[in-house]
Subunit: 198 residues, 3 copies
């Protein structure tokens, strides 16, 4: 689980670094956005649950991964394409892993089913929201896309499993599979949510 | 008090949903902004005071109210007008309720008079600030209007009452009445604060 | 140290108030930005480290200083120039002081060297990030400048001193001197960091 969590951090840090490059930030800005995107969701989760200092500050590997990714994106900036299938598949895996990690931590903190579902979504999408706010864009997750919805469904399934006393490893596997699967399916079919008539 | 707090959440969630519709967000974006606006101020208050996990995550009714409001705003989006007198009066009531709730919690956490006053304002206006930052607008509360000022005056009165050992119910009633009253008066007379010459 | 911390708060509050004036905010907006910039970095630090309620809410002098600065900036808005050498030198001093305060608090909270370095940078630049996000600008610290980098180097030196068991007063003096010195040197020579090719 810890290794998968680092992979999720790695993938999200890439997306942060790439957004920084597109926004013409300098080397430091690229590293900051890599860090903020990679560990931001987990930071919000830990601070909200009172698990301070957050895991991302106590275990140095999270920050090391993000800083190395930031340096790598800076060096390779004109060779990485965020539309690459591999980057987007990796992002979908990160989404599932973080949703499961958020739901698991929320369930042990005594939250109810709706709280668990919300915390799954916040952990999985919080880093991206911070990333977009820092470069003054409406968070991608708020705009037409089947992204956070996948984390909400995955988180809700975790909450159901938790109430049914399903073992942690099984709940985690179900949440990752469903969240990542739904996201990949949405990418493949171009699914989105309806927009209200203003 | 708890029931009134849910009413404040309900009203603020409506304002978040309406801003999301105007920003052309999808169904999920509308729900997210309803949740963020409805519970955001209380979340900041609880996290800052170390009361974690925040009340909005432990008591599911806050999130249920916000999600239902988000769905309702989505369905009725072309029938609700944020300029309606009813919506604006409800918003003024929410402002007073949240200012009192913030001041009360700050006073039991050991903050001094200025801290209590600040926490009243942060609790009452924090959700709206998160809402505006997410859709990349300068927070309405920072621009010319007699809005946060009403919460600061209400919060300062609570701090004075607290030092004079006025009973909690009376301090709460005074804060709600003054904050909501000042806000309604400002709406009625079009009051604002002066702007500096640049 | 406490007195120097208040000086840092004072200087950062000025920068917040001046940005508010440039963004044509009203009196309340000026005070809010003065407060957010003056105490924002310390708030993030304390909340992330679980030191709640934050020092800035428990010790009223921080908020008093910020509010008075906000009022002063409002009154003197057309007489203060943010490009003044004195304002910029004071800002560099605030940067060093806050970096040292963040590193010191992080070291006592059990963070490792990278965590200490990050917390120095977050404490020193967090207030400015909040200030810029509130007026919908890409945070100045993320754009080409040798600003946060100075705090990272100062914070890393503190972490090294901490591991070598250098006395607190000496580590603090080194961090302030190096951070402020690097910042002043960068201002004098117009140093910046490289930007990636998009």
């Amino acid at each position: 689980m810890y290794f998968i969590d680092l992979i999720g951090t790695f993938v999200f840090a890439i997306s942060g670094g790439l957004v920084a490059v597109r926004s013409k930030l300098d080397l430091l800005g690229i590293i900051v956005l890599a860090v903020a995107t990679g560990v931001g969701g987990g930071l919000i989760r830990d601070v909200a649950l009172g698990a301070t200092p957050p895991a991302a500050f106590l275990d140095e590997w999270y920050l090391i991964v993000c800083v190395v990714v930031g340096l790598g994106v800076f060096v390779l900036s004109n060779k990485i394409n965020p539309e690459w299938r591999l980057v987007r598949i990796a992002d979908a895996i990160g989404l599932g892993v973080f949703a499961a990690a958020g739901a698991a931590k929320a369930s042990t903190a005594g939250l109810g089913p709706i709280g668990i579902t919300m915390m799954a979504a916040i952990t999985a999408t919080g880093g991206g929201v911070i990333r977009d706010v820092l470069v003054v864009q409406i968070p991608a997750v708020l705009q037409r896309d089947f992204y956070a919805t996948a984390t909400l469904i995955g988180g809700a399934l975790f909450a159901v499993c938790f109430m049914l006393e399903v073992p942690l490893w099984a709940s985690t596997a179900i949440t990752i599979t469903v969240t990542t699967g739904l996201r990949l399916f949405a990418m493949w079919r171009g699914l989105g949510l309806p927009v209200a008539r203003a």
